[in-house]
Symmetry: C2
Protein backbone atom coordinates (compact mmCIF):
# COMPACT_ATOMS: atom_id res chain seq x y z
CA UNK A 1 0.00 0.00 0.00
CA UNK A 2 1.11 3.50 -0.83
CA UNK A 3 2.09 5.42 2.31
CA UNK A 4 -0.16 8.39 1.53
CA UNK A 5 -3.04 5.98 1.08
CA UNK A 6 -2.22 4.46 4.48
CA UNK A 7 -2.13 7.92 6.12
CA UNK A 8 -5.50 8.69 4.53
CA UNK A 9 -6.94 5.38 5.68
CA UNK A 10 -6.08 5.87 9.37
CA UNK A 11 -8.81 7.54 11.38
CA UNK A 12 -9.91 7.73 15.00
CA UNK A 13 -12.10 4.66 15.34
CA UNK A 14 -14.76 5.25 18.00
CA UNK A 15 -16.76 2.03 17.67
CA UNK A 16 -15.27 -1.46 17.71
CA UNK A 17 -16.36 -5.05 17.18
CA UNK A 18 -15.51 -7.46 20.00
CA UNK A 19 -13.83 -9.86 17.52
CA UNK A 20 -10.43 -11.15 18.58
CA UNK A 21 -7.25 -9.61 17.19
CA UNK A 22 -5.07 -12.25 15.61
CA UNK A 23 -1.87 -12.91 17.56
CA UNK A 24 0.27 -12.54 14.40
CA UNK A 25 -1.21 -9.12 13.70
CA UNK A 26 -0.59 -8.00 17.25
CA UNK A 27 2.99 -9.21 17.01
CA UNK A 28 3.54 -7.36 13.73
CA UNK A 29 2.28 -4.06 15.09
CA UNK A 30 4.47 -4.45 18.19
CA UNK A 31 7.43 -5.22 15.94
CA UNK A 32 6.76 -2.04 13.94
CA UNK A 33 6.83 -0.10 17.22
CA UNK A 34 10.08 -1.81 18.21
CA UNK A 35 11.71 -0.65 14.95
CA UNK A 36 10.82 3.00 15.60
CA UNK A 37 13.74 5.37 16.11
CA UNK A 38 14.30 7.07 19.46
CA UNK A 39 16.77 9.78 20.42
CA UNK A 40 20.29 8.32 20.72
CA UNK A 41 18.60 4.91 20.36
CA UNK A 42 17.90 4.75 24.09
CA UNK A 43 14.41 3.23 23.59
CA UNK A 44 13.09 4.65 26.86
CA UNK A 45 9.58 3.28 26.57
CA UNK A 46 7.29 0.42 27.55
CA UNK A 47 4.26 -0.82 25.68
CA UNK A 48 1.52 -2.37 27.78
CA UNK A 49 -0.78 -4.84 26.07
CA UNK A 50 -3.98 -4.83 28.09
CA UNK A 51 -6.80 -7.34 27.66
CA UNK A 52 -10.16 -5.66 28.20
CA UNK A 53 -12.47 -8.59 28.91
CA UNK A 54 -13.68 -8.67 32.50
CA UNK A 55 -11.81 -5.48 33.40
CA UNK A 56 -14.04 -2.97 31.69
CA UNK A 57 -14.96 -1.08 34.85
CA UNK A 58 -11.34 -0.49 35.85
CA UNK A 59 -10.36 0.54 32.34
CA UNK A 60 -13.27 2.97 32.16
CA UNK A 61 -11.77 4.74 35.17
CA UNK A 62 -8.83 5.54 32.88
CA UNK A 63 -10.95 6.72 29.95
CA UNK A 64 -14.67 6.80 30.28
CA UNK A 65 -15.99 6.06 26.79
CA UNK A 66 -17.77 2.78 26.15
CA UNK A 67 -15.88 2.19 22.87
CA UNK A 68 -12.56 2.22 24.79
CA UNK A 69 -13.28 -1.29 26.06
CA UNK A 70 -15.22 -2.70 23.10
CA UNK A 71 -12.21 -4.32 21.39
CA UNK A 72 -10.31 -7.17 23.06
CA UNK A 73 -7.09 -5.19 23.49
CA UNK A 74 -5.96 -1.74 24.56
CA UNK A 75 -2.33 -0.66 24.22
CA UNK A 76 -0.70 1.94 26.42
CA UNK A 77 2.55 3.61 25.34
CA UNK A 78 4.57 4.71 28.34
CA UNK A 79 7.72 6.78 28.51
CA UNK A 80 10.54 6.64 31.00
CA UNK A 81 11.58 10.30 30.99
CA UNK A 82 14.33 9.76 33.56
CA UNK A 83 16.15 7.56 31.05
CA UNK A 84 15.51 9.50 27.86
CA UNK A 85 17.84 11.83 26.00
CA UNK A 86 18.01 15.44 27.17
CA UNK A 87 19.42 18.21 24.96
CA UNK A 88 22.04 20.48 26.52
CA UNK A 89 19.44 23.26 26.90
CA UNK A 90 17.36 20.90 29.09
CA UNK A 91 14.78 19.73 26.52
CA UNK A 92 13.73 16.13 27.26
CA UNK A 93 12.84 14.09 24.16
CA UNK A 94 10.77 11.41 25.87
CA UNK A 95 7.39 12.56 24.54
CA UNK A 96 8.86 12.69 21.03
CA UNK A 97 10.27 9.16 21.38
CA UNK A 98 7.04 7.67 22.67
CA UNK A 99 4.97 9.42 20.00
CA UNK A 100 7.19 8.03 17.24
CA UNK A 101 6.78 4.54 18.69
CA UNK A 102 2.99 4.87 18.96
CA UNK A 103 2.73 6.40 15.48
CA UNK A 104 4.57 3.41 14.05
CA UNK A 105 2.25 1.06 15.96
CA UNK A 106 -0.92 2.85 14.85
CA UNK A 107 0.09 3.01 11.20
CA UNK A 108 1.06 -0.67 11.31
CA UNK A 109 -2.34 -1.50 12.80
CA UNK A 110 -4.04 0.46 10.01
CA UNK A 111 -2.06 -1.54 7.46
CA UNK A 112 -3.38 -4.72 9.11
CA UNK A 113 -6.98 -3.53 8.78
CA UNK A 114 -7.23 -2.80 12.50
CA UNK A 115 -8.80 0.28 14.04
CA UNK A 116 -7.12 2.51 16.61
CA UNK A 117 -7.62 5.88 18.26
CA UNK A 118 -4.94 8.08 19.83
CA UNK A 119 -6.09 8.88 23.37
CA UNK A 120 -4.32 11.52 25.43
CA UNK A 121 -7.35 12.65 27.43
CA UNK A 122 -7.11 9.86 29.98
CA UNK A 123 -7.08 10.12 33.77
CA UNK A 124 -3.39 10.02 34.66
CA UNK A 125 -3.87 8.99 38.28
CA UNK A 126 -6.29 6.21 37.40
CA UNK A 127 -3.95 4.93 34.68
CA UNK A 128 -0.99 4.68 37.06
CA UNK A 129 -3.12 3.01 39.71
CA UNK A 130 -5.08 0.55 37.57
CA UNK A 131 -2.01 -0.50 35.57
CA UNK A 132 0.23 -0.50 38.64
CA UNK A 133 2.91 1.53 36.88
CA UNK A 134 6.34 1.76 38.45
CA UNK A 135 7.55 5.16 39.63
CA UNK A 136 9.12 6.96 36.66
CA UNK A 137 6.95 5.23 34.05
CA UNK A 138 4.61 7.79 32.47
CA UNK A 139 1.65 6.81 30.29
CA UNK A 140 1.63 9.11 27.25
CA UNK A 141 -1.05 7.63 24.98
CA UNK A 142 -3.56 4.80 24.85
CA UNK A 143 -5.21 3.20 21.87
CA UNK A 144 -7.85 0.52 21.57
CA UNK A 145 -6.87 -2.15 19.02
CA UNK A 146 -9.65 -3.98 17.24
CA UNK A 147 -11.86 -4.20 14.21
CA UNK A 148 -13.78 -1.01 13.40
CA UNK A 149 -17.56 -0.98 13.62
CA UNK A 150 -17.86 2.55 12.27
CA UNK A 151 -16.95 4.30 9.04
CA UNK A 152 -14.24 6.90 8.53
CA UNK A 153 -15.43 10.49 8.82
CA UNK A 154 -14.15 13.09 6.39
CA UNK A 155 -10.64 14.13 7.42
CA UNK A 156 -10.53 17.82 8.27
CA UNK A 157 -7.12 19.40 8.03
CA UNK A 158 -5.76 22.87 7.50
CA UNK A 159 -4.47 23.49 3.97
CA UNK A 160 -0.73 23.07 3.40
CA UNK A 161 -0.46 26.84 2.87
CA UNK A 162 -1.25 27.31 6.58
CA UNK A 163 1.05 24.56 7.80
CA UNK A 164 4.14 24.88 5.61
CA UNK A 165 6.52 27.79 5.16
CA UNK A 166 9.03 27.71 2.33
CA UNK A 167 12.05 29.54 3.66
CA UNK A 168 13.53 31.96 1.12
CA UNK A 169 16.83 33.41 2.12
Amino acid sequence: MDFLELARKRYSVRSYRADPVEREKLERILEAARLAPTAVNIQPFHLLVIPTTGREAELLRIYNKKWFVQPPVVICACGIPGKSWVRKDGKNYNDVDVAIVMDHLILAATAEGLGTCWIGAFDLGAAKEVLNLAVGVEPIAFTPVGYPADRPPEKKRKPLSELVRYVSW
Copy 2:
Protein backbone atom coordinates in the same frame (compact mmCIF):
# COMPACT_ATOMS: atom_id res chain seq x y z
CA MET B 1 5.05 -1.76 0.34
CA ASP B 2 4.30 -3.60 3.53
CA PHE B 3 4.43 -1.26 6.55
CA LEU B 4 6.88 -3.43 8.49
CA GLU B 5 9.16 -3.45 5.46
CA LEU B 6 8.92 0.36 5.36
CA ALA B 7 9.78 0.63 9.07
CA ARG B 8 12.77 -1.66 8.48
CA LYS B 9 13.89 0.37 5.46
CA ARG B 10 14.01 3.71 7.30
CA TYR B 11 17.36 4.50 8.83
CA SER B 12 19.30 7.58 9.91
CA VAL B 13 20.97 8.64 6.68
CA ARG B 14 24.24 10.43 7.46
CA SER B 15 25.57 10.97 3.93
CA TYR B 16 23.55 12.52 1.08
CA ARG B 17 23.90 13.15 -2.64
CA ALA B 18 23.35 16.77 -3.75
CA ASP B 19 20.78 15.63 -6.37
CA PRO B 20 17.55 17.62 -6.40
CA VAL B 21 14.44 16.29 -4.67
CA GLU B 22 11.54 16.16 -7.10
CA ARG B 23 8.82 18.71 -6.33
CA GLU B 24 6.08 16.02 -6.50
CA LYS B 25 7.90 13.89 -3.93
CA LEU B 26 8.32 16.86 -1.62
CA GLU B 27 4.63 17.66 -1.96
CA ARG B 28 3.64 14.06 -1.19
CA ILE B 29 5.71 13.92 1.98
CA LEU B 30 4.27 17.25 3.14
CA GLU B 31 0.77 15.96 2.40
CA ALA B 32 1.46 12.86 4.51
CA ALA B 33 2.49 15.17 7.36
CA ARG B 34 -0.67 17.22 6.89
CA LEU B 35 -2.80 14.09 7.28
CA ALA B 36 -1.21 13.22 10.64
CA PRO B 37 -3.50 13.31 13.65
CA THR B 38 -2.96 15.87 16.42
CA ALA B 39 -4.67 16.18 19.80
CA VAL B 40 -8.20 17.55 19.38
CA ASN B 41 -7.21 18.17 15.72
CA ILE B 42 -5.70 21.54 16.61
CA GLN B 43 -2.74 21.05 14.24
CA PRO B 44 -0.47 23.33 16.29
CA PHE B 45 2.62 22.99 14.11
CA HIS B 46 4.57 24.53 11.26
CA LEU B 47 6.83 22.79 8.81
CA LEU B 48 9.70 24.83 7.41
CA VAL B 49 11.11 23.75 4.06
CA ILE B 50 14.65 25.09 3.97
CA PRO B 51 16.83 25.15 0.85
CA THR B 52 20.46 24.50 1.79
CA THR B 53 22.36 25.83 -1.22
CA GLY B 54 24.35 28.96 -0.43
CA ARG B 55 23.30 28.92 3.23
CA GLU B 56 25.45 26.08 4.44
CA ALA B 57 27.37 28.15 6.98
CA GLU B 58 24.25 29.45 8.70
CA LEU B 59 22.64 26.01 8.75
CA LEU B 60 25.79 24.49 10.23
CA ARG B 61 25.35 26.86 13.18
CA ILE B 62 22.11 24.94 13.85
CA TYR B 63 23.64 21.48 13.52
CA ASN B 64 27.30 21.15 12.82
CA LYS B 65 27.65 18.01 10.72
CA LYS B 66 28.64 18.31 7.09
CA TRP B 67 25.97 15.83 5.95
CA PHE B 68 23.25 18.10 7.37
CA VAL B 69 23.66 20.44 4.40
CA GLN B 70 24.60 17.92 1.69
CA PRO B 71 21.04 17.43 0.36
CA PRO B 72 19.13 20.30 -1.28
CA VAL B 73 16.48 20.51 1.42
CA VAL B 74 16.21 20.42 5.20
CA ILE B 75 12.83 20.30 6.93
CA CYS B 76 12.22 21.65 10.41
CA ALA B 77 9.12 20.58 12.36
CA CYS B 78 8.06 23.27 14.80
CA GLY B 79 5.44 23.19 17.50
CA ILE B 80 3.30 26.01 18.83
CA PRO B 81 2.89 24.84 22.44
CA GLY B 82 0.78 27.85 23.40
CA LYS B 83 -1.92 26.63 21.00
CA SER B 84 -1.75 22.90 21.62
CA TRP B 85 -4.03 20.72 23.69
CA VAL B 86 -3.33 20.52 27.44
CA ARG B 87 -4.76 17.73 29.61
CA LYS B 88 -6.49 18.76 32.81
CA ASP B 89 -3.48 17.67 34.86
CA GLY B 90 -1.37 20.19 32.92
CA LYS B 91 0.30 17.85 30.42
CA ASN B 92 0.90 19.66 27.11
CA TYR B 93 0.69 17.41 24.02
CA ASN B 94 2.64 19.60 21.62
CA ASP B 95 5.74 17.42 21.47
CA VAL B 96 3.54 14.39 20.80
CA ASP B 97 1.69 16.21 18.00
CA VAL B 98 4.85 17.41 16.30
CA ALA B 99 6.49 13.99 16.56
CA ILE B 100 3.49 12.31 14.91
CA VAL B 101 3.64 14.84 12.08
CA MET B 102 7.39 14.36 11.59
CA ASP B 103 7.08 10.56 11.81
CA HIS B 104 4.49 10.62 9.03
CA LEU B 105 6.78 12.84 6.95
CA ILE B 106 9.85 10.68 7.49
CA LEU B 107 8.05 7.43 6.71
CA ALA B 108 6.53 9.02 3.59
CA ALA B 109 10.01 10.13 2.51
CA THR B 110 11.29 6.59 3.01
CA ALA B 111 8.47 5.29 0.83
CA GLU B 112 9.61 7.74 -1.88
CA GLY B 113 13.18 6.41 -1.73
CA LEU B 114 14.42 9.53 0.07
CA GLY B 115 16.78 9.56 3.02
CA THR B 116 16.14 11.39 6.29
CA CYS B 117 17.56 11.62 9.79
CA TRP B 118 15.72 12.69 12.94
CA ILE B 119 17.80 15.45 14.53
CA GLY B 120 17.01 16.68 18.02
CA ALA B 121 20.58 17.62 19.00
CA PHE B 122 20.49 21.01 17.29
CA ASP B 123 21.40 24.40 18.78
CA LEU B 124 18.06 25.86 19.83
CA GLY B 125 19.19 29.47 19.94
CA ALA B 126 20.86 29.28 16.53
CA ALA B 127 17.77 27.62 15.03
CA LYS B 128 15.47 30.37 16.26
CA GLU B 129 17.84 33.07 15.08
CA VAL B 130 18.82 31.68 11.67
CA LEU B 131 15.23 30.73 10.79
CA ASN B 132 13.81 33.91 12.29
CA LEU B 133 11.16 31.98 14.23
CA ALA B 134 8.28 33.91 15.74
CA VAL B 135 7.96 33.95 19.53
CA GLY B 136 6.02 30.84 20.60
CA VAL B 137 7.22 28.71 17.67
CA GLU B 138 9.51 25.96 18.95
CA PRO B 139 11.67 23.82 16.68
CA ILE B 140 11.35 20.21 17.80
CA ALA B 141 13.14 18.21 15.09
CA PHE B 142 15.05 18.71 11.86
CA THR B 143 15.68 16.29 9.05
CA PRO B 144 17.69 16.55 5.87
CA VAL B 145 15.71 15.33 2.85
CA GLY B 146 17.66 13.91 -0.05
CA TYR B 147 19.02 10.84 -1.75
CA PRO B 148 21.19 8.65 0.45
CA ALA B 149 24.87 8.23 -0.33
CA ASP B 150 25.42 5.66 2.41
CA ARG B 151 24.09 2.21 3.22
CA PRO B 152 21.78 1.24 6.05
CA PRO B 153 23.58 0.03 9.16
CA GLU B 154 22.25 -2.93 11.08
CA LYS B 155 19.27 -1.81 13.18
CA LYS B 156 19.98 -2.34 16.87
CA ARG B 157 16.90 -2.57 19.03
CA LYS B 158 16.04 -4.11 22.37
CA PRO B 159 14.07 -7.37 22.13
CA LEU B 160 10.29 -7.13 22.43
CA SER B 161 10.52 -8.92 25.78
CA GLU B 162 12.23 -5.82 27.23
CA LEU B 163 9.86 -3.33 25.63
CA VAL B 164 6.44 -4.96 25.95
CA ARG B 165 4.54 -6.02 29.05
CA TYR B 166 1.45 -8.19 28.65
CA VAL B 167 -0.84 -7.14 31.46
CA SER B 168 -2.43 -10.08 33.21
CA TRP B 169 -5.12 -9.16 35.67
